[in-house]
Symmetry: C2
C-alpha cells in the first residue's frame, strides 16, 4: 500500500525530466523528492526490460517508494533505432544523425516515429511498470523555440502537425508527452491505492 | 595460476567469434570449450566497462577459467558511434546506416575508424582484461567476398588499403584483426603463467 506521507522519490540525473515530472505531479497534489543518482542500465532491446532491471538494481541502495523513468525514440523505418539507446545516440550522432539517416525518405509515412516512456515504480509490494506513448513523425529539419530537450527539435506529434516538441511551450508539451502520460498513469494509480 | 588441464571456456552466443578464437587458439596448442550462453551487458561508454561487468555477472553461473569478448567499431567523426552499441546498430541500421551517416564526408581522413576488442579473462585470481585494436577507415560502399561478419564489409584496415575485412580470406583477416590481437595477448599470457 502506498503511504502518501512518505516522500516519493524520482531517481534521475536529468534535471529536465525531474522538472517535467514535478509539473505533472502538481495536478495530483504530490510533491516529488529528487534523488539525483546515476545508475547503470542493461543493454536490452526493450525499455521495459531496461527499466525493470534498473529498478531491481536500485532496490539495494534506495528506500521505496521511488520510481525511475526510461524513454526512447523509436523509428520503425530504422527498425526501431535509436530505441533504448536514444541517450547514447543523442550524445554521439545528435538530431543531425537521425535526419541524415532519414534523408533518403522524405515521405511523411516513412518518417513515422514514436516516443515511449516506461516508468518503474518500486514500493514494498514490488515493481510496477507504467507506460506512455506519443505518435508522430520526424521533421525535415531541427526546429526549436528553446523548449524541450533531447530529440524534441525533430519530433512532431500527430496532434500538433505544425510544431515540433521543442516549439511547444512546456505546458503544451507536457499535455501531450509520453512521459506525462506514463506519469499520469502512475500518479492516478497512487491516488487510487491511497484512498 | 592457470591450470592448462582445465578446459578453457569462451562464453559467446556468436558462432563466428568462436570460430575466429579457435583459429587463434590453435597456434598456442589450446583448445577452447564453447559455452554458448547469452548474457546481459551493461550500457556503458567503454567496452572495458561492459566486459568487466559481464565477467563479474557470469562469475556466479560459470566456473572459471573462462573468458568473454566484446568488440565494437569506433568512428571518431561520429563521436565514437556505434562503439559499445555496435551489435544493436548493426541489427537496426546495418552497414548502410553507417555509410549514410558518413555520406557527407567523402574524404578518407574523415572516415577513419577502428575496431576494438576487449577480452575479459576470469580465473580464480580475478578478472584480467586484454585488448586489441585495428585501425583503418570506412569504405565508400559495402564490399564482401562472403567472408567476415558484422561491419567487416565496410571496414578497410590500413594494412590492406584495397580490401575490406570481408574481402580478406579468414586467415588474412585473423592475422590483422582486433579480436586476434586481444586473444593472442590472452593466450600468450596463459602460456607464460602455466610454464
Amino acid at each position: 500500500m502506498f503511504d502518501p506521507s512518505l516522500p516519493l522519490s524520482f531517481v534521475t540525473s536529468n534535471p529536465h525530466k525531474f522538472e517535467e515530472a514535478s509539473f505533472t505531479a502538481q495536478s495530483f497534489n504530490l510533491s516529488l523528492n529528487h534523488a539525483k543518482q546515476k545508475y547503470s542500465e542493461v543493454q536490452a532491446d526493450s525499455l521495459e526490460e531496461v527499466a525493470m532491471s534498473s529498478a531491481l538494481n536500485l532496490l539495494g541502495s534506495i528506500d521505496p517508494p521511488f520510481f525511475l523513468e526510461d524513454a526512447g525514440l523509436f523509428i520503425p523505418k530504422l527498425n526501431g533505432f535509436p530505441g533504448p539507446y536514444s541517450s547514447y545516440v543523442l550524445q554521439t550522432l545528435g538530431n543531425d544523425g537521425i535526419l541524415s539517416l532519414l534523408s533518403p525518405f522524405p515521405d511523411q509515412s516513412d518518417r513515422q516515429a514514436y516516443f515511449l516512456s516506461v516508468v518503474a515504480f518500486v514500493s514494498d509490494e514490488g515493481v510496477r511498470l507504467f507506460k506512455g506513448r506519443v505518435d508522430g513523425f520526424i521533421s525535415a529539419s531541427a526546429r526549436s523555440k528553446g523548449h524541450g530537450f533531447g530529440f524534441d527539435p525533430i519530433f512532431i506529434p500527430n496532434e500538433t502537425p505544425d510544431f515540433t516538441f521543442a516549439e511547444l511551450i512546456p505546458s503544451e508539451k507536457n499535455h501531450l508527452s509520453h512521459r506525462s502520460i506514463a506519469l499520469t498513469s502512475l500518479f492516478s494509480y497512487l491516488s487510487t491505492v491511497q484512498s
